[in-house]
């Protein structure tokens, strides 16, 4: 059964019998109870008889809803209409009866009869918003937004005010793809009832990219309610821009309400693995209402976002509020990992030494890899090896692989790096290189990757360039790694000559199409549109099988029409 109908029926089961018990004689309540039991036991024929008796005894609404459920199970939806048609003249003000009739007629695709029932209801209650609301809801539920639009327009004409229908209008507009207008209606709805933020997110998540700015403008307009702002923040997460979502929320004063919303937002972005945003949200929460649990979550998010300084600060902020056992199990690993990433090897060793009496030799050995990484980051390979003295690594351990690579032992690295746990860009580059070259030793390669590991991109670029001379079979890849580093640094003066070298000297290498694409982009950034066009055309013509051809065509079209890519 469809969700809206299920919800409506569930409400009928739970709420209306209770109402009936309070308002009607005991015999009626007993009849309702028996009917529910029969229905619950799957005795549908009995249930029909019991519900009919309940209706005869005065439990009209629960009885009709019960019959609607049972007839629906029996695929006899039209049977309810006979009952309803006898009851409406007796209870003309009973909204539920009219709703059931509309629902049944629309489900049965009897559009003309549904329209007639709607018109009759309007005629019987000319100033009432209920006919419009109920019919619009039924139509929206049945995926007929255009018809719902007609009903809501009629409401505007007849009632002169659609404020009571703002929810239906919002849903209808999003169903019709009127995103901006839908956002406007949702904002209006949340002005008095901010708890519709989840419904807003559900309704507006499918907004196409080109219409999102209009939705943003509506939900963030001056005077927008907390609900509207919260909805926008969650929409941004759903649209893949969690940082924008946090920007919306972060400017609000840190009241209890705001912090509750920040907590929900942090949960959401953690689920989305949007770590930099999760870090920012958790830092803000911790600043406003410090507590160890938030600080630890923030530290983990910061580590995942590769922000070691923040991770270290938060982990140390959490420590005083925790007992010694938690400090050792939860704070120490984060602290050591952060120090390792910062290359603060001596400090990491000192922290570990201080904790050694509590964690014992086994605990120290567990952290040996982290300490080794800290020394690698510090550029001291002998000390990294020394750190592993009491905790020898398996030959195929990734850390062993990295150490081998840094020492230029490509054969050992090739074996061990297959098992690298978290293949980042460095690991992808290393694996690509080890796959490309047949060489087993190369000091130049070792120093180049070591520079990368130390986050010294200037040295890394130079060394990869130099390594290209030493390993001709991987020269295109090594030059491309250097060019990628410079491109990421927005240093076109260095990047473009490198891409040009790849394109000119290694035209048959797998990196050549990428080189032409990046070369074109660099030229475009410099305003040389004609030059960019030439490189894109060359890529398309020369490398028709490349996966980059489609992208090149799009960028060529954008150059031609002046569109923004």
């Amino acid at each position: 059964m469809r969700p809206l109908l299920s919800t409506a029926l569930l409400l009928g089961v739970v709420a209306l019998p209770a109402f009936a018990r309070a308002q009607e004689p005991a015999s009626t309540a007993a009849l309702v109870s028996r009917a529910l039991e029969a229905e619950g036991a799957g005795k549908n024929r009995d249930a029909i008889a019991q519900w009919r008796s309940a209706i005869a005894a005065g439990a009209v609404v629960p009885g009709v809803l019960g019959l609607e459920r049972v007839f629906s199970l029996l695929a006899q939806e039209d049977s309810i209409l006979v009952v309803i048609d006898t009851l409406i003249p007796r209870f003309p003000r009973e909204m539920q009866l009219r709703s059931v009739k509309l629902r049944s007629l629309v489900t049965l695709a009897r559009s003309a009869d549904a329209d007639a029932a709607f018109d009759q209801w309007r005629a019987d209650a000319p100033k009432d918003v209920a006919p419009y609301r109920e019919y619009a809801r039924v139509l929206l539920f049945n995926s007929r937004p255009a018809k719902a639009d007609t009903v809501l327009r009629l409401a505007a004409e007849s009632l002169g005010n659609t404020r009571p229908l703002v929810l239906e209008i919002a849903q209808m507009r999003s169903a019709l793809g009127l995103w901006k207008e839908s956002a406007e209606a949702w904002r209006e709805a949340m002005a008095n009832e901010p708890y519709y933020e989840l419904a807003t997110v559900f309704s507006l998540t499918p907004t196409p990219a080109a219409s999102r700015d209009a939705v943003r403008a509506e939900l963030a307009a001056p005077g927008a309610s907390v609900g509207a702002v919260q909805a926008l923040a969650f929409l941004e997460v759903a649209w893949g821009s969690p940082r924008s979502g946090w920007r919306v929320l972060s400017t609000r004063p840190a009241t209890d309400t705001t912090i509750a919303i920040w907590r929900q937002f942090a949960d959401e972005v953690e689920r989305a693995h949007a770590w930099p945003t999760a870090r920012d949200a958790l830092v803000a929460i911790h600043t406003a209402r410090p507590d160890a649990s938030t600080a630890l979550r923030g530290a983990s998010a910061a580590l995942a976002a590769d922000d070691a300084p923040t991770a270290l600060r938060l982990a140390r902020a959490a420590a005083p509020a925790l007992d010694s056992a938690k400090r050792l199990t939860e704070v120490l690993p984060i602290e050591l990992e952060a120090l390792a990433r910062l290359g603060a090897a001596r400090e990491a060793e000192r922290v570990l030494a201080a904790a050694a009496p509590a964690i014992g030799p086994d605990g120290v050995r567990l952290q040996a890899r982290t300490i080794a990484w800290a020394w690698i980051r510090a550029g001291d390979i002998p000390r990294a090896r020394a750190a592993l003295k009491d905790a020898p690594l398996a030959a195929e351990d990734a850390v062993a692989g990295w150490l081998a690579l840094f020492e230029g032992d490509l054969a050992a690295a090739r074996l061990a790096l297959r098992n690298t746990e978290a293949p980042g860009q460095d690991a992808v580059s290393a694996l690509a290189l080890l796959n490309r070259t047949k060489a087993t030793k190369s000091a130049a390669i070792g120093t180049a990757f070591l520079s990368l590991a130390r986050a010294d991109s200037v040295q890394a670029t130079r060394r990869f360039e130099a390594a290209a001379m030493e390993l001709p079979d991987a020269a295109a890849l090594l030059l491309s790694i250097a060019a990628r580093i410079e491109t990421a640094r927005h240093n076109d003066d260095r990047a473009l000559p490198l891409w040009q070298r790849v394109a000119a000297e290694h035209a048959t290498a797998p990196e050549a199409p990428e080189a032409y694409l990046e070369w074109a982009r660099g030229l475009k950034r410099r305003g040389d549109v004609a030059g960019a066009r030439l490189r894109l055309e060359h890529l398309i013509i020369t490398y028709p099988g490349s996966a980059l051809v489609h992208q090149a065509r799009r960028e060529l079209d954008a150059l031609r029409t002046g569109a923004v890519e």
């Binding site: 007609t150 019709l176 793809g177 219409s211 055309e537 051809v549 065509r553 031609r560």
Partner: protein, 421 residues
């Protein structure tokens, strides 16, 4: 199999191999084509270079046959257009097959000079034709009222109109958008143009523009109109001597006898239609079958079917319906369709909705020229609304609806043959 007669080599192979020379390149337009829309651009580009081509009507979805030249190969490769190499034997086999069936080969001689009637500041995505032309890489010029009222039209073979309201009522958007900045700006721009040319108001200006467009066709021009331009052009021509505009457009109410005073003798397609006289109802007349902006009259969208014509006896109509699909999903516009009861007897219906009282796509001759009307706004955006995001044609390179537009762009390039009927 016709396909087996053609060397099915990919362009990539052809470019790599100096020996893979063919005498012709076939741009298939059936489901073998990867990018139908850009295929029109490649053909247009060849014509611009002076390379005579052929349009193979009803053959493989309306394929194009172009002499094998490096520049054409390059253009096709850059555009991602599927090309098959055809040597003399393959071409001979093709011609034999074409001669034996309801097919024909129409020579394409010269790229038409194209103008799009659009405000100078309109973005290309406001109009399906400019979208299609830009995506296919077909050059066009923009013209506006000053050009039409001057001598500008004479420079062009083909003029396109989209959703301009030639009754001068700005599509009756005054009712809902009178304070919107873009509406105010357009109104001020048109009023300034009217005064510059000595007209008192926008309706008078637009009716004069409509008459110039009518005369352009009469003198031999090709006119292609979509959306609201179709209906309002007819009304403006028929209402040349009558006040058919509401008071918010020219300060005076519509002539109460306007309906009776309309002169349909000079219109292209319509006769005996009735004006919508209620200012508060967002419709111009009863020409449009769908009435999308009048909730109580709005008709749901269905599908429309392209008619098949005899390629040898009716090449123009055949060219206009070349497509790899014959049943297409309908789409709304200010004017979505044309009520059949209002059409003049000589109109050629190109597409209609089965069982509905309206047609979608039609064509006719007028004086020395011809006109084509296609209802609706954007074939890939069925519910297009004001402010809706632009359609990205890179996501619809095989759009059968957009092909109808591009058929119209290319058909003026066809060499006129003596009529066989």
């Amino acid at each position: 199999m016709k396909a087996s007669r053609i060397a099915r080599l990919t362009l990539a192979l052809a470019l790599c191999s100096p020996t893979a020379r063919a005498q012709h390149l076939l741009l298939p337009m059936d489901d073998a084509q990867v990018n139908h829309l850009k295929a029109y651009g490649v053909t247009f580009g060849a014509l611009k270079e002076g390379v005579r081509s052929e349009w193979l009507l009803n053959y493989r979805g309306g394929a194009f046959l172009i002499p094998d030249m490096p520049s054409v190969r390059r253009a096709a490769a850059l555009a991602g257009v599927t090309v098959e190499l055809a040597d003399a034997n393959a071409v001979a086999a093709m011609r034999r097959e074409i001669s034996e069936g309801n097919m024909d080969a129409v020579p394409l001689e010269k790229a038409p000079r194209i103008a799009v009637y659009t405000p100078p500041d309109a973005p290309p995505w406001d109009d399906a034709v400019t979208l299609a032309l830009a995506y296919a890489g077909i050059e066009y010029a923009k013209i506006w009222d000053d050009d039409v009222l001057g001598a500008g039209l004479a420079q062009y073979d083909w003029v396109h109109l989209h959703h301009e309201d030639f009754t001068g009522q700005q599509n009756k958007l005054f009712l809902g958008f009178r304070d919107a900045p873009w509406f105010v700006q357009a109104r001020e721009r048109d009023l300034a143009t009217a005064r510059r040319h000595g007209f008192a108001d926008i309706p008078t200006l637009k009716k004069q523009v409509a008459d110039r467009l009518r005369a352009f066709v009469e003198r031999g021009g090709f006119l292609f109109a979509m959306c609201g331009a179709t209906e309002t052009l007819e009304l403006a021509v028929a209402g040349r001597a009558v006040d058919i505009a509401g008071p918010y457009s020219d300060g005076s109410p519509m002539d109460p006898d306007a309906d009776a005073k309309l002169d349909w003798s000079k219109t292209f397609a319509v006769q005996g239609a009735h004006l919508e006289q209620a200012g508060g109802v967002n419709a111009m007349s009863d020409i449009d079958g769908h009435q999308v902006n009048v909730p109580s009259r709005r008709q749901p969208l269905g599908t429309f079917t392209l008619f098949g014509f005899s390629a040898k006896f009716d090449p123009v109509a055949t060219m206009l319906v070349q497509d790899h699909r014959t049943v297409l999903a309908d789409y709304y516009g200010v004017t979505t369709s044309f009520n059949r009861k209002s059409l003049k007897p000589g109109v050629t219906v190109l597409a209609h909705e089965e069982g509905a009282p309206w047609v979608k796509y039609m064509h006719g001759s007028y004086g020395q020229g011809s006109w084509t009307y296609l209802g609706g706004h954007d074939p890939e955006d069925p519910q297009h609304n004001i402010g809706a995001p632009p359609t990205d044609l890179a996501l619809h390179p095989n759009s059968p609806g957009y092909r109808l537009i591009l058929n119209n762009v290319l058909f003026p390039a066809a060499k006129k043959k003596p009529l066989k009927t």
